[in-house]
Symmetry: C2
Subunit: 217 residues, 2 copies
DNA sequence: TCCTATAATGACCACCTGGTCATTTTCAAG
DNA sequence: CTTGAAAATGACCAGGTGGTCATTATAGGA
C-alpha cells in the first residue's frame, strides 16, 4: 500500500534522498508545519511525484515512521543481545549508551520522536505512544524482573514503579544530550563520548543506591 | 509595552476571556499552528483588536508567557514556604504534589510548557529554557545542598548529577499524569488524587534507597 | 521506427494564514 | 446636542499550504 510500487522501482539513490529529506523536514518542522513544496524543491522532483509515491502527506509520514520504527527495533534487538550476559546495572548502562549511539547516528529520527511525544497533530500518534509503551513493557520490565529474580535488586521492589522510574531516567538522559538546559548543568548537552561515559557511571550509581545517607530496610 | 494600555482599560471579564482563549489555543496548537482567526471568533471580537492590544501574534504569546511564568513563580514560592521545615524527601514529596495540583488547576498552561520543550518555533524559547534551567539551579540545587549538609543525603553525592536526577524524575512524574502511555503502566495518567499520593510514596522510596539489593558504600 | 503503458511534471485550485488600514462606532468633554 | 479623539471593525492583501490533473516525457516490446 505505502509506498506505492512506483516508488520501489526508483533507483535507490533517489529513494534515499527522498527518505532523508523527508526525515529532515519532519524533524525540524513537525507534521503540519513541514512543507511538501520545500521538500520537492530540495529533492529536485515535481510535487506530483510525492503524491504518486505516497498518496498524500500522511502517507509519506507513515513511510518515514515505519522506517524509524524498524531502526529502533534493530538497535534494541542488538543491545539486548550485546548485554544479555551482564548483570542488571550493566545492562542499563549498555542500554543508555546504545541510546546515545543511536542518537548520534540518527539525530533527526530522535527529533521526530521528541516532537511526537507532546505534539498532537502527528498522524499515527496513538500507534506511536503504543510503541513507546511497548519499550517499557517488553524491554525494561523483563530486565527488572530478572534483576529481582537474581537478587540483584531489592526483593520488595515495586516492579511497575521501578520500570517507570528507569524509563523516566533513561529517556531524560537522552533528551538532555539533545536539548540545551535540559541537562540541568551536568554537561550532557552535545557532550563528547568520553564525557557521557563518565556521567553515565555517576548516573547509574544514583539509580543503584539512591540519594539517602542511610540505606533503606 | 505589552499589552498596550488599550487592553488594560478593557473590562476585566473581557480581558479574562481573551487570556483564556489564547492560552487554550496555544496549548492545543502550539504557536505557528494556533489561529488568530479561530481565536477572535471564539472570543467574539474583531481581528484588528488583537493587533491593537498586542501588536502581533508574538506579542499576544509574550503576554500569555509572562502570565504563565508568574503563575509558576507563585506556586513555587508557596511550596517552598510550605515545606520549609521538612526534611529533604518530604520536601521533594511536597514539590511533586504541588506540581500535580498546579497541573490540575492550570492544565493548559502545563500543555504549553510541554510543547515548548521540543517545539522550536515558539517565540521566547531561549528565555523559556533559561527559566526551566533556573528551576533546577535555584530551587532543587539548594535543597540538595541542604540535604547533604544535614546529612540526610549521602556525603559523597555528586550534587550536579543528583539535581539532574531529581529534575528528570519529577518532570516525568508530572508528564505521566498528562500524557497516556508515558506512565509505563503505573496508573498515573489522569489518576485521582489519592492514587497519585500512594504512587508518590513508592516513587520517593526509589529516589531514597535506589534499586539495588545491597546498600552502597 | 513506431506504439503504448507508465511515470514525471508543474500550472492551477481552494483554502487558510498573519497582518493592514480606511471606515465606522463609541463615548466623554464642552 | 455637538464635537473629536480613541477604539473597534472586517474587507482586503500577499503569501503559503496540500492536493489535482491535463499534458509531456520516457522507455521497453513489437
Amino acid at each position: 500500500m505505502i509506498p506505492r510500487e512506483t516508488f520501489n522501482n526508483l533507483e535507490s539513490e533517489k529513494k534515499q534522498k527522498i527518505l532523508e529529506t523527508a526525515i529532515d523536514e519532519f524533524a525540524f518542522h513537525g507534521f503540519r508545519q513541514a512543507s511538501l513544496n520545500r521538500m520537492v524543491q530540495r529533492i529536485g522532483i515535481a510535487k506530483g511525484s510525492i503524491f504518486q509515491y505516497f498518496g498524500n502527506k500522511e502517507g509519506l509520514f507513515q513511510f518515514i515512521f515505519n522506517h524509524a520504527v524498524e531502526l529502533v527495533r534493530g538497535s534494541l534487538r542488538q543491545v539486548k543481545k550485546e548485554t544479555a550476559g551482564s548483570d542488571f546495572f550493566e545492562r542499563i548502562r549498555g542500554s543508555i549508551l546504545a541510546g546515545v549511539r543511536f542518537i548520534e547516528k540518527h539525530p533527526r529520527v530522535y527529533r521526530i520522536y521528541l516532537k511526537m511525544i507532546f505534539q498532537e497533530d502527528f498522524p499515527l500518534r496513538a500507534q506511536f505512544l503504543q510503541q513507546v509503551h511497548l519499550f517499557s513493557a517488553e524491554y525494561l520490565r523483563p530486565m527488572v524482573e530478572q534483576g529481582v529474580a537474581r537478587k540483584e535488586l531489592r526483593p520488595d521492589l515495586d516492579v511497575d514503579m521501578a520500570v517507570f522510574f528507569l524509563d523516566a531516567l533513561m529517556d531524560r538522559f537522552l533528551q538532555a544530550s539533545c536539548v540545551s538546559f535540559l541537562d540541568a548543568g551536568v554537561g550532557l548537552y552535545q557532550a563528547p563520548p568520553h564525557e557521557i561515559d563518565r556521567r553515565v557511571d555517576e548516573f547509574i550509581k544514583l539509580i543503584r543506591f539512591g540519594m539517602a545517607a542511610e540505606p533503606g530496610r
